[in-house]
């Protein structure tokens, strides 16, 4: 009988220990899981600097094809008036008529420049309609550890005209990111009220602004 009592006591004690350890382990796991979930929601904040921000008020913001001409091959466009620094490229169709134009450097002019095809003798000449306007250039550096998708970054001029950086920064990469220590040169045309004087950058609740030179 003594042995059976001893065994019974052992069973009771073991049962209680198992139950207590289950409770403690489960509650511990729940608390750990809760803390991890809450901590995971607190991501590192982006840290960045605006190294410079410049407004070019006479940049070539649009080039329309007035007449496509004929006898061209794919080539480059330059300005025949002023030294503002415009350059572009164009593509032609089967007849050698210019069908598309792409600006590679917007330049900066006091009045709309005359755009011409560089170094070609066509059958009939093309002509272009040029528009100049505000163009903002800025260098920004990611000085923190947060790797920021460009689609999370918004730029503003004079606190308005929000523009998503992912839509204006053409790196040729799908869904590009801004890495720690990386400096981006961003540029975009500003169609808002003239003249703009300030430029602001917003990333996940962190805002920074700079006057435009």
């Amino acid at each position: 009988m003594g042995a059976s009592v001893g065994i019974g006591g052992l069973i009771i004690g073991t049962t209680m220990l198992v139950v207590f350890s289950m409770v403690v382990a489960s509650i511990d796991a729940k608390v750990d899981s809760s803390l991890q979930t809450i901590e995971s929601a607190n991501e590192a904040l982006p840290v960045f600097t605006i190294d410079d921000a410049t407004l070019w008020e006479g940049a070539v913001v649009d080039v329309q094809i007035g007449a496509g001409g004929s006898g061209y091959t794919n080539g480059t466009l330059v300005s025949s008036t002023g030294n503002g620094g415009f350059s572009g490229t164009f593509t032609v169709n089967g007849a050698g008529a210019i069908t598309a134009v792409a600006i590679t450097s917007h330049g900066n002019y006091s009045s709309a420049p005359t755009i011409v095809v560089q170094g070609q003798t066509p059958t009939s000449s093309a002509s272009f309609v040029v528009s100049i306007g505000n163009f903002i250039h800025s260098n920004i550096t990611n000085t923190g550890s947060y790797i920021t998708p460009l689609r999370e970054i918004w730029v503003f001029s004079d606190g308005a005209n929000p523009t998503n950086l992912g839509s204006i920064y053409s790196s040729g990469i799908n869904d590009p990111h801004w890495y720690s220590g990386e400096t981006l040169h961003i540029q975009w045309s500003e169609s808002g009220t003239l003249p703009v004087s300030r430029f602001a950058l917003s990333v996940k609740g962190v805002n920074m602004a700079s006057s435009l030179a």
Binding site: M1, G2, S4, V5, G8, G9, I11, I12, T15, M16, V19, F20, M22, V23, S26, I27, K30, V31, S33, S34, T37, I38, A41, N42, P149, R151, E152, W154, F156, D158, G159, A160, P162, N164, S167, R198, A200, S202, K204, G205, V206, N207, A209
Partner: protein, 164 residues
Amino acid sequence: MADGGASTFILLITALLVSGSVSAVLIDQWGDMSSALEENRKGKEADAKTSLSFAGDAMEVDYDDSVNPNEMTFYLQNSGQYVLDEDTLVVMVDGVSVTSSISATILPGGAEWTDTRLLEVVVSSSSWSYQNDDTLSVSAVVSSEITSGYRGTDTMNIEVRLDV
């Protein structure tokens, strides 16, 4: 000896019954506690993943005094992980609610105010007569869409300077 054996046996059975009852109570209590922890965790998680921030230039918040009532335009960014419900947005200007005259547009266009997207907020009030460079306090409160049965809430407060 036989009496002693019987009483010892009764004690053993009693101990087994008591331990079983205690175990049942403990397991039941543990279940309640676990549920409470889980509920609390989900609520905290929803709040932690709901974040609202001012976006743009606080020094130049657009104020249009050419219209009646005067309008103020500013931008809010969903800086959290949960989708925000713009219909729950409450805005206060200098401590006064302007909720009845809010126009909110998601940028870029979309049906949901997901993370990284902006909300263009235009608020108006006939009682305003602010001037250029006036400084005022803007507060906003918003809740997330219901996610896993819970809504998170976040608030934003900022001092802004008006650009008329």
